[in-house]
Symmetry: C5
Subunit: 352 residues, 5 copies
């Protein structure tokens, strides 16, 4: 959040990149297609972007939102609202949908999860839909989830080549939602490992794991909850940009986000339960330790007392002079210890 502060006190609509990582330069790729053909090229001059072909769909994929000058230029070419540009550059933006009459603006998050260091990385994806073209904005080149969609366009798989730009938008959002399933599955592995560890070897390290999982789930939740609203808004919109035939697909997508949110809530429940189990496993161990101490003490303290008594140096201690008192004392001590052991056995403190 700290880099969000760059924004404070700025004029509304200022294009300020709020992340840390910087690309050397922005990369813009463009793909035009209709049912029969497609053209793909890397854009060098942004003015090329506005060359539209009749009845073709154009997808402009802009990578490197930290290049704010390039963003500004794009903004001028496509006549974007200043606040839209601000939201694209502000990668701390909460996921949102905004119907700007001319175009529909979407801001979403993608995630990558590093299993080793149990870290969740977030990337902001912004999407703008016009009736004939789409611009997508990514932070960097790492994620390759969009390659699959491009491949589908190039190979003509599925119905994507027959449909309009709104179906392309749906395909991209669908890929993003699929990405959430991938991340959730990695989280699920962590949750299962955690529960195994709880049963076999609960150490205090587990607390950090619980806290880490909790916070990752909070991050996911914060970014995925709004996606549900966003897709619901797309489904119910009366904008001409999204056709009625897309509604079945959007409802399906909506169901997927609900399922993801359900799963996140389930994990949160399970993790909360894990903490309870860990806490009671500590209590149980304290119990065990106390039992050992108490058993040892209860057995030997009276015996030591007896030994102490007959270590006294009183002149007149008649027991000391008789031959049978020493073995008798041993018998008394053994019996005492045995009685104690039986008592603890009855109390189920030992012999389980």
């Amino acid at each position: 959040m700290k880099t969000r502060l760059k924004h404070i006190g700025q004029i509304p609509g200022s294009i300020i990149y709020t992340g840390e990582k910087m690309t050397a330069e922005s990369i813009v790729q463009m793909i035009d297609y209709n049912e029969k053909e497609y053209k793909e090229k890397r854009v060098e001059d942004f003015r090329e972007c506005t060359k539209f072909l009749r009845n073709w769909v154009k997808w402009i994929d802009f990578i490197g939102v930290d290049q704010t000058n390039d963003l500004e230029e794009i903004g001028k070419i496509f006549d974007l609202h200043p606040l839209t540009l601000e939201d694209i550059a502000n990668i701390q933006q909460r996921p949102k949908i905004e119907d700007m009459d001319d175009y529909i603006f979407l801001s979403l998050k993608m995630f990558s999860y590093n299993n080793e260091i149990r870290e969740l990385k977030e990337e902001q994806i912004s999407l703008i839909l016009w009736s004939k073209y789409i611009i997508s904005f990514q932070e960097n080149e790492q994620s390759d989830d969009f390659h699959k969609i491009k491949e589908r366009i190039i190979k003509g798989k599925g119905r994507i080549r027959k449909m309009k730009s709104d179906y392309l938008l749906y395909s991209i959002v669908d890929a993003i939602v699929d990405n959430y399933f991938v991340v959730l599955e990695q989280i699920e592995n962590q949750v299962e490992d955690l529960q195994d560890e709880l049963l076999t070897n609960p150490t205090s390290v587990i607390l950090n794991k619980i806290q880490n999982l909790k916070q990752n789930l909070i991050i996911l939740r914060k970014s995925i909850w709004p996606v549900r609203e966003i897709i619901g808004t797309m489904e119910r919109t009366d904008s001409d940009l999204i056709e009625d035939s897309l509604q079945t697909y959007l409802r399906d997508l909506y169901d997927h986000t609900v399922q993801i949110i359900d799963t996140i809530e389930t994990f949160r429940d399970i993790i909360a339960g894990s903490l309870d189990i860990y806490l009671s496993s500590i209590s149980n161990r304290t119990n065990e330790i106390m039992k050992v101490l108490t058993i040892m003490s209860a057995i030997f303290i009276p015996l030591t007392f007896l030994a102490g008594v007959y270590g006294m140096n009183f002149k007149y201690m008649p027991e000391l002079d008789q031959k049978r008192t020493y073995p008798m004392l041993w018998i008394i001590m053994v019996v005492t210890a045995g009685a104690m052991l039986l008592y603890f056995k009855k109390k189920k403190w030992i012999g389980k």
Copy 2:
């Protein structure tokens, strides 16, 4: 969830089975009936399915949704939407209802609970309703809950033979909801056993049982909550496929799901309470152990000290030379121990 990943990156509408178990081949059974007659047969060629009789109701029961090729063929014959087929094959699907104008699609879960290993198994049931026929999709043959409905059709029990396909749909959903009561009753037995165990012999095994019950209830909840919405949607639908006369039945069914959800929430409350009781039973036992240790120590530590004192080897210790000091010391020690015992009795640590 892991098998859900097979879906990731696929074209929307791909028919991919997301479960683990595989049947050798699909089994399709068909039953046609009107008020007076019925015909039952096993389908060998899917094209037989579309032979309809005037004013008869047809029920096609498809078993083995892992046979995705067969699913695809069915899809072509009945002109199903690709997303419907995807949902049928994806057995990780969240329960849903989808009004596709031509037909209404339902996806629900059935459960079987294994008391021995306390495991809950889930089977997905998909149902498609047209005005004159129904197709149901099951994962495998194990559950026999549908046999009872078929028997009712064959024997002409109840009003099922007099009603249309929407009443058949209601009957199937009613059987599924009845199945939830059966599972809940098994869970209830587990909850009662748990509470007995808590009172008589609370060991750490109970924690696993609590966690297991919790998670089973979470699974049930995740699958049954949407059923309430689904039945509510059916009741309020303005689709011609569901007639107004069915509403009273649907409201009754709705009440049953509300009752099931109430019961699940009650069990969750009771189990949460069980954890509290278990935790305080551990604390109580620690308490008991501490008391034993403290009583033993508090009685013998001063006595051992006294014995130690008169075990010293000072040349000048006048007490040692007198004859009455030894018995006097015994008296002092017994009185001290007795005073301690009285003190602990007054504190209610012993003698309860």
Copy 3:
């Protein structure tokens, strides 16, 4: 819930009694009244029930819903929907209201609380309202709450004789809601006893009492929450069976149920707080025990060590030979013990 299973797999609308207790035979009492006169009789033949008098109100009170044959006969005479009969016989039914156009069907619960064994018993009351008559269904004769209403009719107290059957329905529901206040007051006594016990003598028995109260409150809550909705539905209904003039009374009744629900929630809050207090009272006692142990040990362990030192048998131990060393050691030991006591006093572990 177990007897609920009798229903599983049955045809919807089957009349199956789901309780355990059986009456020998059903008892049906009938009372007809108008503003000036009343007639009361025990019904032998159900066909008598349909003899209506012009502008009189008829109340048929059926006791013994386990007599399902009689229920069925009543059902035929009054043309009741099969699901209504099923709900009357199924005493596990969630409280509900159902507007069947011809009549309004209500299902409610009454409670009796046994203070000795702290057990809550539930009885289901079903009510059916037509424009000129009411049938009420009870499980058995034990509860006498309806006698007071009958007495009011006979003695002409209040406005009941001047009003129609909807006011009679209101009077019965009002009596049922009053019954909740009686039960809640008994629960309140238990809660107060619990809190007194917590302050004076918190033993582990309290945990069972807390758990018992919790579960009784869960049962009450499950049955009374729906009553609020039911009365709200009656108030807002556009059915001709309930006249507008009754609305003021229904709003008043609605307020009473809200008050009851508030009170239940308050009790739940207080009981949850009691558990916290009990848990911390255990912790406090562990603390007390530990203090006693620590004080005893800390005082005597060093002294015992000193005594041990001068009990050694070294040839060369110059202290042993001097006359003043023995009393000096006593002084050292008393000073050490006193210092310890002062230390613990300063720490406020003793002398409070």
Copy 4:
């Protein structure tokens, strides 16, 4: 609640006082005013109450709702609905507003808080608004919050003399809401004292204080939550009795109740947090006690063992005969104790 039971089984609309305290007789005061004049008098005969002056506002203040005969007489004179009279006499009534067409009936609570015994007392205030007059009902004379309003009328302060009876109603409700701020401020003092005590000297007495504060806040919440709805209903009402010009005032009042509810919730949060802090302070103290015990034991137990060894009476113990062994043993013992101390220092158990 117990006195609520007096109501059980009564005819709806029975006037039964449900409190404990009784006044000797009811006191009725009456004040008439217009913009220029006012008249104040004590009413002896209730029929005086209906002498209205053209364009004057009349306020009748009835004290002593336990005088149910007087209430009944008032009810006849002003044609009050039986349920209104029941609600006025039933001081266990949940706060409510009821639009009876002719008049608007309000039932609210006032509180007084006794700091010494930390007890919250509740008084029920009922208000009835007609277009030209108001009757207010109080339990007894103690509270003097209404004197200020009467003074304002007499002295002509503010706009009260220029306004109608609805403004008078608003003024009275405003005074009641102000009373909540006074009580909350006393609760706030208790909360602050509690937190100071937690930091300086957390004893088990604090648990009772926490429980007491919790319960007082529950009582306040139960009575103030409905007030928000009541004022909201007044603001939105389409009754002619409340003029549009009052809406700004009512919105302001509504904000005040929201603020009060916010504050109550905040206090509940803080108190819940206090319990956590108290519990962990107990755990911390147990920790401290254990440390002292462990340090004492760990230092002296090995030393005592060594002393014990050389207190043995074996004939052949070569160490005993040498001169330097005794001082060497002392050195060993001091080194052992020192090593232990260093170990505990390193573990940060001492010397912090």
Copy 5:
């Protein structure tokens, strides 16, 4: 809250300052601007405020709401409703928006956070919007957030000079919302420090920090939650004072407040988790301490007993006379101690 009491019993609409700090005199600054020019001056006589220029926007910035006489004068000049003036002076006011037809009144909070003493200070900002001018009310001069907006007006940065008074209002509210991000970022630093401290050195001081953070977050939440509603109300308003073109900006602002509220909730979750971790770290430490005590005791108590036995003075103790018994006893004691150590190693109490 205590100073809120000054209000109790006052006539609604009384202008009473409810804070503690007092300024010497109020400062009023005025800035008029249109697209081309601007005029800035300090106002000496409030009547200057009403000199409006055609098509210019005027912003009057009033500092020192404790100067209630000046407030009253302003109120008369601009014909403010008495309740508006009351709200401006009552700095305990809950944030609100009020559409008074002539003008729109807003009351908001700004915060400053002192990192040293971890204290959150609140300042109330009131804003009144007419079609051509705005008055803002501040408590004192400290905050300089408004200077940036004035600078923007003077330097003509952004679109502010081209827009009407509603855009100025938006700019001021935007600056206030930006202020929340600044405060949240400071809180975030505290939360991170807390979590580091938890992992490295969890002492009881942490409890105070947790409690302090919790309470600061409660304060923020109480003041920022209503801001969301306020901006939502502004967005949906049908008042002529706010033009449609502003809606995009207001939606953006709304998103920011949602993001702030999300962040506050996240922090609350994390802090609640911190308490759990702290509590279990205490339990873990108790565990560690108990282990040390138990290991020491279990090893030396049996040995001390053995030494005690052979320190007894019985005449007949055959072991004492043999030469090899003393070394043999040493061997036995070492073996016993070693066996104990192995046992504890196996139990993983040592050697980790």
